[in-house]
Every structure is written in structure tokens, then in C-alpha cells.
């Protein structure tokens, strides 16, 4: 089901993985509000949801989504430097992924929240060169000043 070695290693190295089958555990589907398969959910150890995505993805996009879930988790825990590093790594490793422009946006926000008040303007400038047609470039455009 996860024939890609990089995906397998990433999951094993970063998560406590749980497989929930729609026919065997319908109550668990209901408990977590899963309405389609596949649905992947990243949770804190206490069960707080940090990220989810639905639908099949090829390996690079899937890995980018898993990394994004970890970055969002760091962001939620106000680990700004770690969150920024993780978001920027997604842009660097998976520049063509759907997660990349959103990651560039949140990297800027994490940097700003970490105390760099020029980070938002800097991010808006980056979007002029990277992903200029993305929805995230539009959202960042307000920071251009």
C-alpha cells in the first residue's frame, strides 16, 4: 500500500502510524470525522488534530503533505524556528508540489511570529518570483507595503 521506500521510512521515522479500515472500524471513522478514503490525519499525542488531507497522491506530493503536517504541528506549538525550517524545507525539496506555495506563505508567518518583523514584506517579495499565480501569492500581496 506504501510501496515507496522513502514514504515508508518517513512514516516510520516520524509518526506512530495507525491504519483504520472503513469496514472494520466505522466508529473510528465517525470519531475523527473521516468521510472519504484515503484520509490521512496528523494528531498530537493527546489526540489534537493538526492536519488532514484526503485523496490519493503520488509519492512526492504525499511526502510534501506529511512534512506539511509536521510543520503545521510545530507552528501550532509556537515552535517558530522549527516551523519555519520545516515549511522552507518543503519548498526546497518539493518545489513543484501543491504544498509548496502554501509552505512559502507559512514560512514567512512563522518567521514573523519568531520576531522578524520584516518577514512578511520579504515573503511578499519572494512570491513575485516564486508561485506568482498561486492563491498564496494573492494572500501575501497585502504584505508588500
Amino acid at each position: 500500500m506504501y510501496p515507496n521506500a522513502e514514504v515508508s521510512e518517513f512514516i516510520s521515522g516520524h509518526f506512530i502510524p495507525v491504519k483504520v479500515h472503513v469496514k472494520e472500524q466505522p466508529a473510528t471513522f465517525k470519531r475523527f470525522g473521516a468521510q472519504w478514503t484515503p484520509t490521512l490525519v496528523v494528531l498530537d499525542p493527546d489526540g489534537t488534530e493538526r492536519y488532514r488531507f484526503e485523496g490519493y497522491l503520488p509519492a512526492p506530493e504525499f511526502l510534501a503533505q506529511l512534512e506539511f503536517g509536521l510543520a503545521k504541528r510545530a507552528f501550532a506549538h509556537e515552535q517558530w524556528a522549527e516551523a519555519e525550517r520545516s515549511f522552507r524545507m518543503i519548498v526546497q525539496r518539493y518545489p513543484e508540489s501543491d504544498a509548496a506555495p502554501e509552505s512559502l506563505y507559512w514560512a514567512g508567518v512563522a518567521k514573523y511570529k519568531g520576531g522578524d518583523h520584516g518577514a512578511l514584506k520579504e515573503t511578499a517579495a519572494l512570491f513575485k518570483r516564486q508561485y506568482p499565480d498561486s492563491a498564496w501569492a494573492k494572500k501575501a500581496s497585502v504584505w508588500a507595503g
Binding site: 500500500m1 515508508s8 516510520s12 495507525v18 483504520v20 473521516a34 496528523v42 494528531l43 506529511l66
Partner: protein
């Protein structure tokens, strides 16, 4: 390639996750197990 050691019990996995301070990944699927 190492197989992923998937758990089947979410609550048991949460206990494990707390002990290891690691996040959980839940894979809701309909594929043959």
C-alpha cells in the same frame, strides 16, 4: 524496504505516542488490509 508497523488501535497508539512524544498518523482507508 522496511514495512511500516501499523497499529490498529487508536487509543493504544495514543498511549505509545505520549510515551515517545511523537505525533500520530491515522490512515483511514478502504484498501484490503
Amino acid at each position: 524496504m522496511a514495512d511500516i508497523q501499523w497499529g490498529r488501535d487508536v487509543d493504544a497508539a495514543m498511549t505509545q505516542a505520549r510515551a515517545k512524544a511523537m505525533p500520530l498518523l491515522l490512515d483511514f482507508n478502504a484498501a484490503p488490509m
